[in-house]
């Protein structure tokens, strides 16, 4: 029972990170029907932006809560600008062409950013503790870490904010309209390009937040972290039903729990395999994902 509860905490923590990144994949897919393979690299760049910003501001020497907030906001803003730039420079010129062109470009942007990361940042770097860390033993053998609490509270707050934007604001209604039909949205007077840009910004902000949370948890970041977490988050988005916001959250949590339960009860070597076993399973039995709408591809 203790093992189960412990893996539940670990799984929700990991799953929250997957969910934050998966939201970026799913929202961009919703508006452009594009799998933005560069999204994982935006996440990676967010971690390094946070590192260099913390060093530059001296927050790594004198950690403080306001300091961390400045670093967080800075890293998230950096990701927003990066995400919007990628859309503007790499995807928008291709929007009228076949979707395959954009997909291949996305892979190209992903490789480009990863290699820029390797050139600029080298390999693994350690990430300083910016916040006091604590562990609480809830009962014998069941540990809750302050990092888990950070991840839960930040993720819940960001998801409530996202829900508010998408469901209650005019820009959120516009995002939903654009994801149904760009032409019809334009007939409402909605500046579609700006809405697409905003969608990239929101997704990238969430990735930036995920990057900082992971960096504060694991204390190491590397230029290839985007492909590992990015791929898992993409699987999470597909599990939940790509294009669906609740689906991305559910898929992320499900994947996180599946991974930690498998490492707890079977073997940690099976941890990565379970993600892809789940992916294959869902593609075989419910290709539209848990929350996805069943759509027939029109020929």
């Amino acid at each position: 029972m203790i093992l189960f509860l412990q893996q539940l905490i670990n799984g929700l923590s990991l799953g929250a990170i997957y969910a934050l990144i998966a939201l970026g994949y799913t929202m961009v897919y919703g508006t452009l029907q594009l799998i933005n393979f560069a999204h994982g690299e935006v996440y990676m760049m967010g971690a390094f932006a946070a590192l260099y910003l913390a060093k530059w501001l001296g927050v790594d020497q004198n950690p403080s809560v306001p300091g961390v907030i400045v670093v967080a906001v800075g890293a998230m803003a950096f990701c927003a600008v990066l995400g919007m730039t990628i859309e503007r420079v790499a995807y928008r010129p291709l929007r009228k062409m076949s979707r395959l062109n954009m997909l291949i470009t996305a892979i190209g942007v992903s490789l480009l950013l990863q290699n820029i990361g390797l050139l600029a940042f080298g390999a693994l770097q350690s990430f300083p503790s910016l916040l006091p860390e604590a562990k609480w033993e809830l009962t014998a053998g069941l540990v809750l870490r302050s990092q888990d609490v950070q991840i839960f509270t930040t993720t819940v707050a960001l998801m409530l904010a996202l829900h508010h934007i998408v469901e209650r604001t005019q820009i959120g209604r516009a995002m939903r309209a654009v994801s149904h039909s760009r032409d019809t949205a334009a007939l409402m007077g909605i500046p579609v390009d700006r809405v697409v840009s905003f969608t990239f910004a929101i997704g990238s902000v969430l990735a930036g937040a995920a990057a900082l949370l992971i960096a504060l948890d694991k204390h190491k970041i590397e230029p290839t972290m985007g492909s590992a977490y990015g791929l898992k988050a993409f699987v999470a988005a597909v599990l939940g039903g790509i294009g669906s916001i609740p689906g991305a959250v559910a898929g992320g949590l499900l994947l996180g729990l599946a991974e930690t339960m498998v490492s707890g009860y079977i073997a940690s070597t099976w941890r990565d395999a379970i993600a892809f076993i789940l992916l294959i399973g869902i593609l075989l039995y419910k290709p539209s994902g848990l929350f996805g709408k069943h759509t027939v591809e029109k020929v």
């Binding site: 209604r173 039909s181 334009a186 007939l187 007077g189 500046p191 579609v192």
Partner: protein, 240 residues
């Protein structure tokens, strides 16, 4: 007749889809304060013409004037801002958004909250059934209700010129009759209307002026009542 002003003027409009010449130097005057109808069979280019006016398709040559201002080449959302809105073919309501959210999006270019609420109330006054379904997803509405919503949504930007693409499509005659009455009422309150229709009889009965489009070119035009009496039109579009 000399007092009639053109709200919208299309001059020598040529539109190509790749290798296909979709519109051949089309000239249309949409007179201010009136209903102008554009008739034609499926594939004649009616929808292309409306999409070109709205900026979703770019003309290769020719001009589109709104009042005195050329608007061809402007982006679609900018054309709405200038005062031309469209209820597109097939209604195209946003199915996952509620009726109210659809109407709110129609008012995207406006920021006067009280005015927007008043206009939503006005549309509910015209179509009480939309009022009953305000919080319902638009995709759950019947075809007739979706058409009402699509027109209401296009009215929410308070356009000078309202473009309507086949509002009768796929609807029962009694529903169509109601919608055409409303189009007349909207026009009587001062909105200029360009109505694209296959249902020539109905359209000519509420319009002042008619144009007939055939394979991308205007074949005939004139006062609606003359077209109603025209033998060739009767044979081609009014069932003899």
């Amino acid at each position: 007749m000399s007092a009639v002003v053109n709200a919208l003027e299309l001059r020598d409009l040529d539109v190509w889809y790749g290798q296909i010449h979709a519109l051949h130097s089309v000239n249309v005057n949409v007179e201010e304060g009136r209903i102008t109808t554009l008739l034609g069979a499926n594939g004649a280019g009616k929808t292309t013409l409306l999409r070109t006016i709205s900026g979703l398709v770019k003309a290769r040559s020719g001009t589109i004037r709104l009042g005195a201002t050329p608007i061809q080449g402007l982006e679609a959302h900018e054309i709405v801002r200038r005062g031309v809105s469209q209820s597109p073919e097939g209604r195209q309501v946003f199915p996952n958004l509620t009726v109210k959210e659809n109407l709110q999006l129609g008012a995207w270019i406006r920021s006067d909250k009280a005015g927007i609420e008043a206009d939503i109330a006005r549309i509910v006054g015209i179509w009480p059934r939309l009022g009953e379904r305000m919080a319902q997803a638009a995709g759950t509405l019947s075809g007739g209700e979706q058409q009402m919503l699509a027109i209401g949504r296009a009215m929410m930007s308070r356009p000078k010129v309202l473009l309507l693409d086949e509002p009768s499509l796929g609807l029962a005659p009694v529903v169509v009759a109601g919608i055409f009455e409303t189009i007349k009422a909207i026009n009587a309150e001062g909105t200029t209307v360009l109505l694209v229709e296959q249902n020539a009889h109905l359209a000519l009965r509420i319009a002042h002026t008619g144009y007939v489009l055939e394979t991308g070119a205007i074949q005939q035009s004139g006062p609606a009542k003359d077209l109603l009496d025209d033998d060739a039109i009767r044979a081609a579009y009014l069932g003899g």
